[in-house]
């Protein structure tokens, strides 16, 4: 038997990038969901919710695969705890994307025209934030190839530098959007308002988790 071969075994970074790609697919469903909401196409919303649920399930399978292998490995090139936290954050992003879809299926809500533009700005900003993280995370396999050093490492760190600012922007839009939502309290029923707020909170959490994952990724590279 080739024990050298077995000793290497399976590196976690290949599956980890697969996980990142699945999570990206989950996040990419958010904007179509919003568009379906504007069009009041509730059938489409249900279809998209099925889709994102399936994607989230697939992401979970990959996550388990990575986690199962981790405790049985010595000499990981990154801190095990940070790696687990990182994949945990990425996992939550997929979860929240699914939650968002589920919320939209709870009741046939209409999006008020006054907040429509800002809501779309917010969704786009959350997407930009998450996408920044996921683009950086997709480099994990290449990072492992160059042993987390050199030009590749500084490129990824540079990408991550932008992440904090993107998240801050998303936060700012969220606060302003929140005010706009409650400004509609005389025109809309309270349930709809709370519903908007619920959507907004879930999206904010996605941006937040993206930032947390980015912080983990950074310490993984630097240490």
């Amino acid at each position: 038997m080739s024990f050298i071969q077995e000793l290497f075994g399976k590196s976690p970074f290949g599956p980890l990038v697969e996980h990142t790609k699945k999570v990206t697919e989950c996040v990419e469903v958010i904007r179509p969901l919003m568009e379906a909401l504007v069009n009041e196409d509730y059938v489409e919303i249900r279809r998209l919710q099925d889709q994102v649920s399936k994607l989230e399930y697939e992401a979970d399978l990959i996550k388990h695969e990575v986690r199962e292998h981790l405790p049985r490995r010595y000499f990981l090139p990154v801190d095990r705890v940070e790696l687990e936290k990182f994949i945990g954050c990425q996992d939550k992003i997929a979860d929240k994307a699914e939650d968002f879809a589920v919320i939209l299926t709870l009741r046939n809500t209409k999006l008020h025209p006054d907040i429509m533009d800002k809501f779309f700005d917010f969704v786009d900003q959350v997407f930009v934030t998450t996408k920044t993280l996921l683009t950086a995370a997709e480099e994990l396999k290449n990072l492992a190839e160059v042993s987390f050093s050199g030009v590749e490492a500084s490129n990824v760190l540079k990408l991550l530098d932008g992440l904090n600012e993107e998240e801050w922007k998303a936060d700012r839009i969220a606060r302003s959007l929140s005010k706009d939502i409650f400004a509609l309290e005389n025109q809309l029923d309270p349930i709809t308002l709370l519903f908007y707020e619920k959507m907004l909170l879930v999206l904010s959490e996605i941006a937040n988790e993206a930032e947390n994952a980015g912080d983990m990724l950074r310490t993984m590279i630097v240490t």
Partner: protein, 438 residues
């Protein structure tokens, strides 16, 4: 009649060499086959040539240690009460028992899937028979201490070298802004170094010992020859690599890294060959050291201290290694090729070069070390340089456990076989040996 004893021991040596070939081959060629740098058939042919060359050209050094370094035949003869021929007879029986014991232990561990060092097996087995024959004092503990120390030092040295070589590859090539451009510049140096090492190891002393009448081949000439060959290979490789990588520095970084790994593929074949060569040079002794001792006794009644190991014995060992390779290598390497491997060619080269250097230096110092363990050390060194996605804890534990238990286990098997053989065969073999030496 002494021919029968020699033939039986030669068969045991062949059996052991076959075991070693089957047991260890995959580790030397695994990086090459695993990274799809070479087809299965070619890997086996190349490995055969390199193992054989290593065994015949440089195999004599460690063989000396196994045949007379661990148990000193003169000590057996000096024990009070020993009659003429007793010591020689015990030595013949003991060496044959040790061979059989080591080979059996290897077989057992192959069945149970334990990664066992062939070197540790034979050293344990030889020491075992020495203790059974004449007590603890029969073993040359000074030499034994050196050998055991080398089992600690060789993986550590492999690890340090692996760390350094891998870091060098990362800093000079992989970590650059344009890895393909850096590869065109740097890879020829690696080729130069690899070719130098292989040429020096092959030609220096080894070739002259094998073929008489090469007096013009002085050390200076050898060095010049190695330099020239290294230079030519470096220039040729640069032309080829330039042709392959030219203009690729505009590709995205990840694609450039892939291309660079492709360039490393032929190098990992070369470095795997050097590992096979080093393995042949060190591990052939595990099979033929005892055989050489028996041959000496049958020739002259004692183990000659200053005589070179006969070439035919080295060749027999080489043939045994190749047989093991051909019969088992196919099956083993096939599974290696199918498994998803994380050994990228750049890691394979770093580990291979580190292991080759370490094992060859130990061979020169007449120290029997484990090629597999040195490779494991090199892999861990690369791991410490953050070069691999970790190593499997279960496999690491298995290697460590077998590292610990092989010497005593092989020793115990050897003791049992020796005591049995002494009881039944002593009176048959002794007259043969006395007749022969008288």
């Amino acid at each position: 009649m002494d021919f029968i004893i020699l033939a039986i021991t030669a068969l045991l040596g062949l059996y052991m060499a076959w075991n070693i070939g089957a047991n260890d081959v995959a580790n030397s060629m695994a990086p090459a086959v695993g990274s799809n740098a070479i087809t299965l058939k070619r890997a086996i042919i190349l490995a055969s040539i390199c193992e054989f060359a290593g065994a015949v050209l440089v195999g004599g050094h460690v063989t000396d240690t196994v045949r007379k370094g661990i148990v000193d035949p003169n000590f057996l003869a000096s024990i009070p009460g020993m009659q003429q021929g007793d010591a020689a007879t015990l030595f013949v029986i003991g060496m044959a028992s040790a061979l059989l014991a080591a080979a059996l232990w290897l077989n057992i561990s192959t069945w149970t899937g334990m990664p066992v060092s062939t070197t540790h097996s034979i050293v344990g087995a030889v020491a075992g028979f020495g203790i059974a024959a004449a007590g603890l004092d029969a073993v040359n503990w000074h030499k034994m201490g050196q050998i055991v120390a080398s089992w600690f030092i060789s993986p550590v040295a492999g690890g340090i070298l692996g760390f350094i070589f891998f870091k060098l590859i990362v800093v000079t090539i992989l970590g650059r802004e344009k890895p393909t451009r850096a590869a065109i510049k740097i890879t020829p140096y690696i080729v130069f170094f690899l070719v130098m090492v292989v040429t020096l190891a092959t030609v220096y002393k080894g070739l002259k010992q094998l073929i008489k009448g090469l007096d013009w081949l002085t050390d200076t000439h050898t060095l010049l020859f190695a330099l020239a060959l290294g230079l030519v290979s470096a220039v040729v490789s640069q032309i080829l690599i330039r042709r392959y990588l030219q203009g690729m520095d505009t590709l995205p970084l990840s694609e450039q890294l892939e291309k660079v790994e492709e360039v490393f593929s032929p190098l990992v074949v070369i470095s795997s060959c050097t590992v096979a060569f080093a393995h042949g040079s060190n591990d052939v002794a595990n099979a033929i050291g005892p055989l050489a001792a028996v041959f000496d006794i049958l020739q002259s009644g004692t183990v000659q201290m200053q005589v070179a190991v006969p070439t035919w014995i080295l060749m027999l060992g080489g043939v045994g290694l190749v047989l093991g390779l051909i019969t088992f290598g196919h099956r083993v390497l096939e599974t290696v090729g199918k498994k998803i491997t994380e050994i990228t060619p750049s890691r394979g080269v770093a580990a291979g070069v580190a292991a080759t250097l370490t094992v060859l230096v130990c061979t020169r110092m007449k120290l029997p070390v484990s090629t597999t363990h040195t490779l494991v050390g090199a892999v861990i060194g690369i791991g410490l340089a953050r070069g691999i996605g970790g190593i499997d804890r279960g496999v690491a534990k298995k290697i460590f456990t077998s590292w610990i238990i092989t010497v005593p286990a092989a020793g115990v098997v050897s003791i049992i076989l020796f005591i049995g053989a002494r009881a039944f065969l002593f009176d048959i073999i002794k007259p043969l040996i006395i007749a022969n030496s008288g």
